[in-house]
Symmetry: C2
Subunit: 219 residues, 2 copies
């Protein structure tokens, strides 16, 4: 596994101590996230929207309706940028200046490629589906030819990526620590699953399947 | 309160049924989020990073180090785009095609303005601080002149914004609903606070203050 080799734009300048060059960390952030933020340029202006994704090796999969403007831009070979951020805590410093957040964030730069080969596309859609809803691909009905055609699948290579992680207590000024005039620390925040809500159109004979019921234990 | 009046780029084309034109919903999404994703253009390519924000009326506040590249781009009057998304659930359809997510998402387009007036800047920093860490501004040490100068404060007007919300059960094909061959539904996901972690450099005489200890009850 090659380490992350930053290009100029993927080199972290602010908070260098928070930059991580281990490719395994990139995978870990991407695998832990649920949705990503996809940025592209339209008429010279940036646009950023949330969307689903999946990762396999050094390939990030993105998808969407073939009619979506965002997908058309990305599928046209334009440069895109994807960010996946997990917020882990609010950092309360002794000074408001040192208030911060604990987080894991991955940024990927590149150009998307449209996958048209049917077998490769079906595989990519499986990776995507299994990322947001593990266990769904084999459980739910497979895409019909019409649904398959209505979905665009893009790939983004993870070659140009950066990871930034902040963790731990506040980093306060020595004078503030020595003065010890107030509390400081971290309030952790994480993702929590609640009880599954069955579709009201079900007739009641299908129990919540294990891949959904057991997800809370998967994180 | 004026409704959201979409421009061409802030008009939602895909999933029109999920577009919301009530300005109060925009405020609600922005107030419920913790961090935003800020997109800007560098050398023709998009970049998207997570960052803190705060809202007051129709003004979104952004800030950062005066040395940060992202802030320099945004502060230079270039077009930016901000997205705040709250993921509310994973939607498990009867078909993988109808797998989806429940979410609330706000997108704002515009050009940032740099706030230099000291009083206005101090006020904006308070709004920002109070968004991510309510109660901190009055509790923690105020910015020193040096800290104040090292922080850039930007505003983005909420005039050009769009809100998209998906909620409720899966929307499956009639044939799949009628066949009733498998479970479908929603697995809700939300934010969860854990017990505050006091800074190890504290001497133990400061209890966790109510604005931190009580946050779990604030959502």
């Amino acid at each position: 596994m090659t380490p992350l080799s930053p290009t100029t734009r993927s080199t972290i300048n602010r908070g260098k101590n928070r930059a991580v060059l281990d490719r395994a960390e990139l995978y870990a952030v991407l695998d832990a996230g649920l949705i990503c933020h996809l940025a592209f340029v339209v008429d010279g202006a940036p646009v950023v929207i949330p969307t689903g994704y999946g990762r396999e090796g050094d390939t990030l999969y993105l998808h969407g309706s073939t009619g979506a403007g965002s997908l058309r831009v990305a599928a046209g070979g334009a440069q895109i940028c994807v960010n996946v951020t997990l917020l882990d805590g609010i950092v309360y410093g002794r000074s408001v200046f040192h208030n911060s957040a604990n987080y894991r964030s991955a940024v990927i730069h590149g150009r998307a490629e449209t996958i048209t080969d049917p077998e490769a596309k079906l595989h990519g859609l499986r990776v995507l589906t299994e990322h947001l809803a593990p266990g769904s691909w084999d459980y739910a009905r497979a895409p019909s030819p019409k649904e398959f055609a209505a979905t665009a699948l893009l790939t983004l290579d993870l070659g140009e990526a950066a990871v930034k992680i902040r963790s731990g207590p506040p980093v306060d000024d020595d004078a503030d620590v020595a003065a010890d005039e107030r509390w400081a620390g971290v309030l952790p925040v994480s993702r929590a699953w609640a009880a599954p809500e069955s579709c009201p159109l079900l007739d009641g004979r299908h129990a919540v399947p294990p891949h959904v019921a057991g997800r809370a234990t998967l994180g």
